[in-house]
Each structure stands twice: as C-alpha cells, then as structure tokens.
Symmetry: C2
Amino acid sequence: MSKPLILVTNDDSIYSKGIKALVEAMSEIGDVVVVAPDKPQSGMGRAVTLNKPLRLNKISRFNQVEESYTCSGTPVDCVKIARDIVLHRKPDLCVSGINHGSNSSINILYSGTMSAAVEAAIEHIPSIGFSLCSHDLDADFTAAAHYAKVIVQQILKHPLEKGILLNVNIPDLPLNEIKGIKTGHQAIAKWEEEFEERIDPRGSKYYWLTGKFVNYDKRENTDEWALENGFVSIVPVQFDMTSHKGIETIHHHWRYDQ
Amino acid sequence: MSKPLILVTNDDSIYSKGIKALVEAMSEIGDVVVVAPDKPQSGMGRAVTLNKPLRLNKISRFNQVEESYTCSGTPVDCVKIARDIVLHRKPDLCVSGINHGSNSSINILYSGTMSAAVEAAIEHIPSIGFSLCSHDLDADFTAAAHYAKVIVQQILKHPLEKGILLNVNIPDLPLNEIKGIKTGHQAIAKWEEEFEERIDPRGSKYYWLTGKFVNYDKRENTDEWALENGFVSIVPVQFDMTSHKGIETIHHHWRYDQ
C-alpha cells in the first residue's frame, strides 16, 4: 500500500520548532510536503490575501520531506496554494501546527493554525490542527508529537464525515504525565480584555491589547476540562455555523412590517 | 424609554458608502457610535492585532452620530476597542456593514464584516452583519438600508438567545423588486480557486488568487436560494463550532494504542 500524502502547514512560520516536530512525526507515517508561512501569522484568523500577489519559495529545512516551501501569505493562503500550485492534487491529510500556544475553546475563532485546517476541510481533505499549551519558542514537543501520530493513525483508519475536522490541544506536560485522550466540546469561555493606553514620544495615544482567558464552562466534557485534568483534548469541528435554535426563534416570534 | 445605543463598524473602512448608509439607517432607531477601520480590511477574517499597538482617531464624518472613530486595526480590533476604550459599556446592539459584496454561505468564514459581528456576540452583545450582493464602490444601498432597519427593529423587540448573531445578505435589487425576507441555513458551497502564475520584471514567479463561487446546495431553505430568488437572507449564526456527529464517530470507532 502506498504511503499517504500529508500536507503540513502552520501559523508560527516554517522556522518554528512546532512545525519541525510535526514534520518529523508525520514522516514516520506518510510522504510529507510542507507549505508554511515565511513569517509568524498568529492571530491572523481566517485572513486570506486578495489584494497582493503571493510568493512561494522552495527551501530545504527538513531532511525527511519530499518538498518544502515558504509562502508569503496567511495560513489559509498556504493551504490554497499548496493544493493548486505545489501538489496539483488533494493530499490524503492536512495537519497544521504544532502551534506554540493553546487553541482550545473560543481561541479556535482567532487561530491561524485552525483556519488552515478549516480551509483543508472545506476542500474535503481530512484535516487536524495541533496545538501545545505553551507559548515558549523552545517548548518541548515530545508528547505533542507522540499524540499527533496516535491521532493521525486513527483518522487514516477511521475517517470522519466530510466537513468535520479536528481541533487537538495537548497539555504542556511530559509524555508520562499525560493521562490519555478525551473527545468533547468547545468550552464556553472568553477573553476578558483590556487595552493598555500609552503615550508615544510625539505625545499621541496608542493602545496595546491585553487580556486574560476565563472559562465559564463547568461541564466535564469540554476541551478546557480535559486540558486542566492532564488529557489531550480532541474537539471535532464543523464550519456550518447555522444556529438551528436561532432559526426557530425567528420563525416563532419575528413579524415584519415591510 | 431611552434610545438603544448602537455600535456600527465594518470592514470596508469608515470611508465606504456602505457604512454611511448603515449609520444613517441606525440613526433613525438609536444613538449611534461608530468605530471602524481606517483602511479596507476585506478578507481579514477573524484576524486580531497582537504584535503592534492600535491607534484610535476621532473624526467627524457622520452628522447624525454621537461619536465616530477610525481604528488602525482589523474589524475584530474595532469591536474590542470600542467596548473597552470608547463606550466603557456594552452597547445594546452591534451592526457591521453594510458590506460591499455578499457574505453568504462559506464567505462568512473569510469575512471581516461577520467577524466583527461574531466578536460582539462573544461579548453577549446582540449583533448583525449586513452585506449587499454588489462589490460596486458606488452601489445603491437604499434597499439594504431599508431592510437593515426592519431587521434591527425585530431583534430589539424579540432578542435572540445569547451566542446567536445574524448574517444578513441583501440582493442587489431595487427595493420594490425584493420579495421579502427568508430565514434559513448557510448553503454548502465553496470557491473553486486557481492561482494565476505571473513573472515579475526581475524574472521571479508570483501568484494571484482567482476563483469562482460554486453552490452545490440544492435545498430551498438556504441563503443562496433566498438571494437567487430575490429575497433578503437571514442566517442565524453560532460560534460554537463543535460537531456532535464527529464526537459520536470518534466514540464509536476510534481506539488508541498509546
């Protein structure tokens, strides 16, 4: 049986430690092609480059891979250009990460890592975003890479329905302290944010975004619960954002005077 | 009864025709404060500015409003800074748009307009994104502004559950040719994309994203169906992206050899 073709991307840039760990792990499973941003793109959400052209440069950073490219665009751009220009076909799997920092709960909505994974899922490519709960540039990805392999082996054996991808977050713990894997829900949490006001040398105000993450969700089947309790968290994710409850409310209560 | 406080933002910039139409419409309903990008931010998705500070400048562009500000960041940044620095409280409603161009179906995932609306909904602010199906900078927003008022009056009277916002798209038709309002689902559609390869004056390749939108969804209760048939489309939207079907599949089939 031929090896699966695995596209690897991320949002911390091709030069990050996290993508190197993911590339090495995936090389044990399939043929790997890398297309990743040439500079950090964290917090870029689902941004896509419309008003300027993209550059694609072949580089040799990873020994084990077929080909690797930097792209001047966002993580979403990387997936689009990988499929169209680099691979000329759908890969068997797209993995994004391993992100330096959690993408659990509401963070999925801001995440470049997860946006790349969503883009692949829109194209009906099985797809997973991996994130380690540590922002350290030199974080230890040993456990995260181990679980990336475990989970990828499962998705190749038992694929999910089209339009469903995975958001996988790994606690920042040594491998032997991780208790296993829990599959559950996106927790209801949010960033309690404040802007710090400062004055520049020319006397004008400017603002830095600051904030802390607050989990309001006390359920035990959420990603936050899993991570706080030493488990790897899997949240299956869909990109149909329709609220059926909202449709019902409008049908029952709204009357237009047009 | 005091008038509702309405925050207006968008992604086409504070200088676009669409936001002007929305501000004028909202001024007939409530007290309006505007915080919008100082330059176009289309396709910025849910990008948020983490690595550089934001600027906020008070300007006078609209006669009817309490205050209006440009912000140097993304649409999501505008909502965050509006709540924290400008308003010092939650507005009663946040409206985003009117976007120059459709945000129906899958376009919601790339849309700065809708991302601003999602950001407000995360903060439990009732929230609506409005988009007109015309990219023309000088498009006629008469019908769109009319329906914005009709829909805002309903949401103020019959609020939706927390965490549900609205994606409203208006066909590019004169008011008397619009048949009414349909509330339904995000259609299953996607962009069939290609990159156009070009050579720059120094002999290096670069790529432009091109593509056409293809609707695969034949159901009659979708946003695409409504728009194609001359109706204003409302899709209630949630930002919990958990796929319950995906959770079931994993629980039934996946077994980890750790």
